[in-house]
């Protein structure tokens, strides 16, 4: 019993002490901040920051080579703590933004100009005449954006149209970069009224290509508060810094404007009423 205790304790002592000495002797300069930051990071080594591991990111942040909010998993709370360690301010906390596909033209309403036979991917499809849609601005519906969204926030509706689910969307903007048509925009999550069209074609042409295209009739511009909706080359564009009443949607003769979320119910009735009046 005694031998056991002595032997094992000696072994442990030797190991611990030896290592402690070795750690001194072979000490390599360390950035204490890096260690502190590493504590804060989730330690999942998931690679979301595109670095080999949490330790590496910690080192970079400590050296000022990476942003304090570079870890998407740790999110804001981690960024705040890291900011404290680094003695910096973390602004963050801006209004949450979500992606929105500015097109409403699924195959049921939008015309095609040819039979596309090729890779099922939007970025590939644009290589041949910019895609098979008659409207050259519209969504190709091959789901490249849905493919890059890590959060499954984009649904492809039947008839080929991408739709973002704002509840699942984390605002990472991967889809914005992926869409070859450039029709995905980041919009404040709180805004409910959207004009789902990107076509700068003149009214007649746009109407020919798509039954729900913006024809640039200006009705919504007039109905909305001054400057909230503007005309950009035959396309009505929402300025999201404005709050726009849901009734404006009913003005659109092409049914291009939609109202989402809680406000949807509110919009339905006035719309019906307006229709009745006219």
């Amino acid at each position: 019993m005694l031998t056991a205790v002595i032997a094992l304790a000696a072994l442990a002592l030797l190991a611990a002490f030896g290592l402690a000495i070795a750690a001194r002797v072979f000490a390599v300069p360390h950035n204490p901040k890096a260690d502190e930051i590493e504590e804060v990071l989730p330690g999942a080594n998931c690679g979301a920051c595109a670095l080999p591991g949490c330790a590496e990111l910690a080192r970079r942040i400590a050296e000022g080579k990476a942003d304090i909010d570079a870890c998407p998993v740790g999110g804001e709370s981690a960024a705040h703590t890291i900011a404290a360690i680094m003695g910096m301010e973390f602004e963050g906390g801006a209004e949450r933004e979500v992606a929105l596909v500015l097109c409403k033209g699924s195959d049921q309403v939008a015309a095609k100009r040819f039979f596309y036979n090729g890779i099922y991917d939007c970025n590939s499809a644009v290589l041949v005449f910019g895609g098979d849609k008659a409207c050259t601005y519209g969504c190709l519906g091959l789901g490249t954006c849905a493919g890059v969204c890590l959060f499954g926030a984009i649904d492809m509706v039947p008839g080929g149209l991408a739709v973002v689910d704002p509840e699942k969307c984390t605002g990472c903007a991967q889809c914005v970069a992926a869409c070859p048509k450039g029709i995905i925009k980041m919009v404040p999550a709180s805004r409910k009224l959207h004009i789902l069209c990107s076509s700068h074609d003149k009214g007649g042409v746009a109407r020919k290509h798509c039954k729900v295209a913006c024809i640039g009739c200006m009705k919504c511009v007039k109905a909305a508060p001054e400057g909230a909706i503007t005309m950009d080359n035959f396309l009505a564009v929402v300025d999201y810094s404005f709050e726009i009443p849901a009734e404006v949607a009913a003005e659109c003769p092409m049914n291009t404007i939609i109202v989402t979320g809680d406000a949807a119910g509110a919009c339905e009735e006035p719309a019906a009423a307006a229709g009745g009046d006219a």
């Binding site: 056991a4 304790a9 442990a12 611990a16």
Partner: protein, 197 residues
């Protein structure tokens, strides 16, 4: 430095406690383990010996064989006279490795039983040497009453396991060797010594 000493101390303490606990447990289990190990062997011994009324585990002699190796032989007695012996032999020409098994022999050199102790044969094939069907064939066979200690394939009497002739052959041949060994040392086994206390 102070910090380091503290850490080392904590760790040493924990290890010491651990060592103490283990030493205690070891003390407590040493005997059951020894018993279990012995029991493992003895159950084989018992199953291959002819009827006996002694405690074979206490009646063991060691015989020397050529090459300087020794074999432990357990003796079964009835009313004080040796009726048979059990000993372990190793077949080195098994299919995937050595096969260690225990055989029991009576005074006439007739095999009373065979028990496989350790082997590495293929499951489902060679591993069937453990089966009663196969082992049973050897009971009652002796060098005298059996012409050829070979498997049927080689003209003998023992039916090999299908697809595992090699394992069967190894057992058969080594058993014969064991019986020969027994014959050579019969005198030693049966005559020498009384019950060892």
């Amino acid at each position: 430095m102070k910090e380091i000493i503290r850490l080392c101390f904590v760790l040493t303490l924990i290890t010491a406690v651990s060592a103490g606990v283990l030493a205690y447990v070891n003390q407590q289990t040493a005997e059951p383990i020894a018993r279990a190990l012995l029991e493992e062997k003895m159950s084989a011994v018992r199953s291959v010996l002819p009827p006996y009324d002694n405690e074979p585990d206490k009646d063991m002699i060691t015989i020397m064989i050529e090459g300087g190796d020794s074999i432990e032989v357990y003796r079964g007695r009835k009313d004080g006279t040796v009726t048979g012996a059990a000993f372990a032999i190793v077949a080195s020409d098994g299919y995937s490795g050595d096969i260690e098994f225990m055989i029991g022999v009576d005074g006439e050199g007739v095999m009373q039983g065979l028990m496989v102790l350790k082997h590495l044969e293929t499951p489902g094939l060679g591993a069937k040497i453990e089966s009663e069907d196969f082992r049973g064939q050897y009971s009652g066979k002796s060098l005298e009453n059996t012409e050829l200690w070979e498997v049927t394939r080689d003209g003998g009497t023992f039916i090999p396991i299908t697809g595992a002739t090699i394992s069967s052959r190894a057992i058969t041949k080594t058993s014969a060797k064991g019986l020969k060994l027994f014959r050579e040392h019969k005198a030693e086994i049966f005559e020498e010594g009384e019950v060892q206390e």
